[in-house]
């Protein structure tokens, strides 16, 4: 009364198990295929069939959504079968599995970091591959996500009026993501935050902070003369110059 699957699984006949595993694999019953492939890895070690077993075994994890293990087994395939024609695909899939794990920007981005590293390694190793374009665009996608995360955390400090922290964090976004599209917005926000920070400072700390406001504002105006924020930043600049003059004259 045992199912066919159970009978095969316990048959202790590697050839038969492998045949059935391949059958399940092609029928897209990946969970069962996985169980059976696992049994034949050891007996087929050093045999020609081992390569396909390892390759399909990795895919069973990918198709069942177990991306952490999928990434691992694709990687293992690539190191074991260095000369295989499937190696490029396995290297790519190892990175792509990590990409699948990359969550929304509000959550931990460790998998994004891993995926980016793996895609970069892929692009370096197979510069001619037609998958390089896709790898690069996925890298861009994940870097944009990480940038947004850092940008939002800087904005959080701005919202809760932790001005120093906002300035440090905005500065870090500019430093860590030189390719950012938000450079103008960030520099504007930095001028704005510094302006508010100064206006809420003790008198004794003001001159020093006013100078920073002036520097950030001037810098912004020279860099983005056509920015929609120019008028506002000019106001920060003029007010700060004015106030600094008054403070220094006293």
């Amino acid at each position: 009364c045992r199912s066919e699957f159970e009978t095969i699984r316990t048959s202790n006949n590697p050839e038969q198990i492998l045949a059935k595993a391949n059958e399940y694999y092609l029928a897209e019953e990946y969970q069962r295929a996985q169980t059976l492939y696992e049994l034949v890895i050891a007996p087929f070690r050093g045999q020609a069939a081992a390569e396909q077993i390892a390759y399909r075994y990795a895919y069973t994890y990918y198709y069942t959504g177990q991306y952490v293990l999928a990434s691992y087994y694709f990687k293992q395939f690539a190191t074991t079968y260095g000369g295989s024609s499937l190696r490029e695909e396995a290297d790519f899939m190892s990175a792509f599995s990590n990409y699948q794990l990359s969550p929304v920007y509000r959550l931990d981005q460790s998998y994004s970091v891993q995926a980016i590293e793996a895609f970069e390694e892929f692009a370096n190793r197979y510069p001619e591959s037609e998958r390089v374009a896709q790898a690069n665009s996925l890298i861009d996608e994940m870097r944009a996500k990480m940038e947004l995360k850092d940008f939002e955390s800087a904005k959080l400090y701005m919202d809760i009026e932790r001005y120093e922290s906002a300035l440090t964090s905005f500065g870090n976004v500019l430093k860590d993501y030189p390719e950012t599209q938000r450079a103008e917005e960030i520099r504007y926000l930095m001028a704005k935050v510094q302006y508010e920070y100064t206006s809420r400072s003790f008198r004794a700390r003001k001159p020093e902070r006013l100078r920073v406001t002036i520097e950030l504002s001037e810098n912004f105006i020279t860099r983005y003369p056509d920015s929609p924020y120019v008028d506002e930043v000019t106001r920060y600049l003029n007010e700060s110059i004015e106030e600094l003059k008054e403070l220094e004259n006293v």
Binding site: A42, P43, R45, G46, Q47, A48, A50, E51, T79, T80, Y81, G82, G83, S84, P103, V104, R106, L107, D108, S110, K149, E152, S153, L156, Y157, D159, I160, E161, R162, E164, S165, L167, T168, S169, N172
Partner: protein, 827 residues
């Protein structure tokens, strides 16, 4: 032709490019040639460089198969720039399985572990691996004290599969060898017994409760421990001159250890150099070592850097952000038995926080954590901020307290430090699904869910549902409870902890509907309570930011129809029928520093609250004297002011902070604005019992407070004598309750926190302020246990013994009571 003595010589300065013209495999009998070539990664037609990286990589790949005892790749011939390769392998039989003889079945798992370190099923068997595995098995026995154990291994061809062998390990355990004596020679300053005590793992056999097996590695450690002990006494030259180990006539071990104690040394002058932030006196005080103290290197290091309570010199600096601080004690003079030290200090700059990184949050959105942290970029590093942040993270209740990681990698070039918090999410939602026996009222069914980490904004975002929208730190609770006819209760609440995202101002909106119907068509008996409430809570900045102030508005209506229970005034009038409006404002001030919501180890939680209705009569709104005539008219618009104080402290008692003392005081007072109106029959307190009614019949118009060891019936003040001479249950306007409780955790695993407790409690209820006597308490002692399961909340029981029970009053004169806790801790 090459051999091991005459290796081919390649000139590494001139690698040559070849094309592979062919690859042959020699020596493979069971592995397939093509498979072997595939594994090498080399293929015909490929360009390779010799010498170059391809050949070594191919050899490595082949080794990794663990099928061969020898692997080499050689050049067969070259024709022009075409090279022909030979892959030579030596195959060995494969290891199929192993077995043990002479070893107990119970040991097999442990022994398998030892064998598997050296032999892999399906891999090859080498002599070396066999010897290593046998030695590992023997080592296992030696460690258990069977010094004379022998292990031999036999290789047997296995017929069930070609080219396979199985191994049989034959174990001869022999008798356990005990240590008969440990003789220490040359000790004058320290007693032998004291020295033997330092040896943790090597003991004489006559010691009770301690093994006396001999384990060579641990014995070496034990000798070091003995010397370390001498060092702490100022004998810094002490050493083991020699030791000998031999068997006595009974075959037991004798250890002779010869020691040279050397001289005892003392601290003399300690001077400080390089300190600018703290003066010499401060540093000397923190160091706490005085001239004339016995020289103790370990103590010195502890006081400088490794103190358990962080009251050492390094902490003094580090806590203030001097993360690059370093102190180096230099012995500047040794005269006779006196040592002068110079403490060379490098203070370095105060580190500024550059990045604050949060890792591991795979459910909770980052801003929910980040906004709680006290370590922020751009600030100076401070340890106390980190500790505070750690507490905030734990306080969220979403993360495993035991695995919370904090790292502070420094960047000395820039003088900055990053702070990396690594969290591990734990389940924080609760599901309540129960059917219980509610006494005479039959079966009660409950369906309740509490989502502690809800995300309202993702409500319409299908992708964020797993299984519900989560991660924004909002709390959503829905609960329905009914036993059909008699009782129905529905309630819902939603809390957003950071309203608007700019301030930790929480907004709670809640509503409930409760219906009790114990009547029949002929004789109705019904109570319906409905309430809607909104409250705002703000974290204060003064006196410190542990304070939270809450304001709320409660709109409640009570509809009574022939309800004769409980709503009795002090004048013994009963409110039985009619609609009553209970509109109140609520204010509370609380300060919470308790570390963990489930098993707090230290800190306190104090809350003072006031709930008050408008004083309608004083305001002239309801000053018609006719309204006073009838008790029901009098309380149509309920008026009162109600005060609650709840204070609890947690004090760790044991060194590992596990044994915790909880001290608690709870006081409640319900007052009236106007003697003519009197104290409201609603909103009173009912002390006694297990407080479980609080859940089963929530919001019954009174606050139900547990008193372990006593039932409600056991407190005389809970009853009032009617004019006809009978007694009637009444809720009281005043109560107080004091508890001391010792708690010890059996498991702090967040998926099931278990602790046991022993308590002493005293409490009482009073009917008027004049009767109130804080020393007239009903005392009890008892024990209990709690289990916290993330999905079900707190479950547990208490057994309490009440001393001050009137045996005539309580049923069958039994002085103890048994309480059950379901879902959450009762008040």
């Amino acid at each position: 032709q090459t051999d091991s003595l005459n290796l081919p010589v390649y000139d590494y300065s001139e690698p040559q490019e070849y094309e592979i013209g062919g690859i042959k495999v020699e020596g493979a009998y069971f592995a397939e040639e093509n498979a072997i070539i595939g594994v090498t990664g080399l293929s015909v037609g490929q360009d390779i460089r010799v010498p170059g990286p391809d050949i070594p990589r191919a050899i490595k790949n082949l080794w990794r198969l663990r099928l061969f005892t020898n692997v080499s790749i050689e050049e067969e011939k070259t024709i022009g720039d075409v090279i022909f390769l030979i892959v030579r392998v030596e195959e060995r039989p494969r290891f199929l399985r192993h077995s043990f003889t002479g070893a107990k079945q119970g040991r097999h798992d442990d022994l398998n572990e030892e064998v598997n370190k050296y032999l892999v099923r399906g891999g090859i068997v080498t002599e070396d691996a066999k010897v290593n595995a046998a030695e590992a098995v023997r080592g296992y026995y030696v460690e258990k004290g069977y010094l004379d154990a022998t292990v031999t291994v036999e290789e047997i061809a296995d017929t069930s599969r070609a080219n396979s062998v199985r191994l049989v390990f034959d174990v001869k355990r022999n008798d356990r060898v005990k240590i008969a004596e440990i003789n220490i020679i040359g000790n004058d300053a320290v007693k032998e017994r004291k020295l033997q005590k330092q040896m943790k793992e090597t003991n004489e056999k006559r010691k009770l409760f301690k093994g006396s097996k001999f384990q060579p590695e641990l014995y070496e450690d034990d000798k070091d421990a003995m010397i370390a002990y001498y060092n702490t006494l100022g004998y810094r030259d002490a050493r083991v001159l020699n030791d000998s180990i031999y068997r006595n006539d009974d075959g037991e071990l004798v250890l002779d250890i010869r020691i040279n104690e050397g001289n005892q040394y003392y601290f003399r002058n300690i001077t400080w150099k390089g300190n600018s932030i703290y003066d010499n006196e401060t540093l000397a005080q923190v160091l706490g070592i005085e001239r004339g103290d016995v020289y103790n290197e370990e103590e010195l290091q502890t006081r400088l850097s490794f103190s358990q309570d962080n009251a050492d010199v390094s902490s003094l600096y580090m806590d203030n952000g001097y993360l690059f601080f370093n102190v180096d004690p230099i012995e500047v003079a040794i005269e006779g038995d006196s040592i002068d030290l110079e403490m060379r200090i490098f203070e370095g700059p105060q580190a500024t926080i550059d990045k604050v990184v949060i890792n591991g949050n795979d459910r909770t959105h980052e801003h929910v954590i980040r906004r709680e942290l006290f370590t922020r970029p751009g600030q100076k590093f401070s340890r106390s901020d980190i500790i505070r942040s750690q507490r905030q993270i734990i306080g969220l209740g979403y993360f495993n307290q035991e695995t919370l990681g904090i790292e502070t990698p420094v960047n000395p070039d820039r003088g900055t430090v990053d702070i990396i918090y690594t969290v591990e999410e734990k389940p924080s939602d609760q599901l309540e699904l129960s059917a219980g026996w509610g006494g005479q009222r039959g079966v009660i069914g409950t369906l309740g869910v509490t989502f502690n980490n809800f995300s309202l904004r993702n409500l319409f975002n299908r992708e964020a549902w797993h299984p519900l929208p989560q991660g924004d730190g909002q709390r959503l609770s829905l609960r329905a409870q009914t036993n059909g006819k008699f009782y129905q209760s529905y309630n819902a609440s939603l809390t957003e902890p950071w309203l608007g995202g700019k301030r930790p101002t929480s907004l709670s909106v809640s509503a409930f509907y409760n219906k009790y119907d114990f009547g029949t068509e002929a004789v109705p008996r019904k109570l319906i309570i409905q309430q809607a409430a909104v409250s705002l809570g703000t974290r204060l900045r003064w006196p410190d930011d542990n304070f939270v102030f809450r304001t709320g508005i409660n709109l409640q209506t009570l509809a009574l129809n022939n309800w004769t229970e409980l709503f009795v005034t002090d004048q013994n009038e009963t409110v039985t029928t009619g609609n009553y409006n209970n509109f109140s404002l609520q204010f509370s001030l609380s300060r919470n520093t308790a570390t963990d919501p489930i098993y707090p180890k230290q800190g306190s939680n104090i809350e003072l609250s006031l709930q008050a209705t408008p004083p309608y009569r004083k305001l002239g709104i309801r000053d018609d004297p006719n309204l006073l005539e009838d008790v029901e008219d009098r309380f149509r618009f309920v008026e009162y002011h109600k005060w609650r104080l709840n204070a609890e402290w947690y004090t760790p008692i044991s060194r590992d902070q596990k044994l915790v003392l909880k001290t608690q005081a709870k006081i409640g007072y319900l007052g009236s604005y106007d003697d003519a109106v009197g104290v409201s029959p609603f909103e009173r307190f009912q002390l006694g019992g297990d407080g479980v009614n609080n859940q089963q019949f929530a919001f019954a118009g009174v606050d139900i407070v547990s008193l372990r060891g006593y039932e409600i019936e056991d407190l005389p003040n809970n009853f009032i004598t009617t004019q006809s001479g009978g007694v009637r249950k009444i809720a009281t306007p005043i109560f107080s309750k004091y508890t001391v409780e010792l708690r010890y955790p059996l498991s702090l695993n967040p998926s099931s926190t278990i602790f046991v407790l022993a308590f002493a409690q005293g409490g009482n209820a009073w009917r008027t302020a004049r009767d109130f006597n804080p020393f007239d308490l009903k005392r009890s002692v008892g024990v209990g246990a709690r289990v916290f399961l993330p999905m079900f909340g707190t479950l547990g029981f208490d057994w309490g013994y009440g001393f001050d029970k009137d045996p005539n009053l309580s049923e069958n004169g039994n002085l103890s009571t048994f309480n059950i806790v379901l879902g959450f801790e009762p008040e």
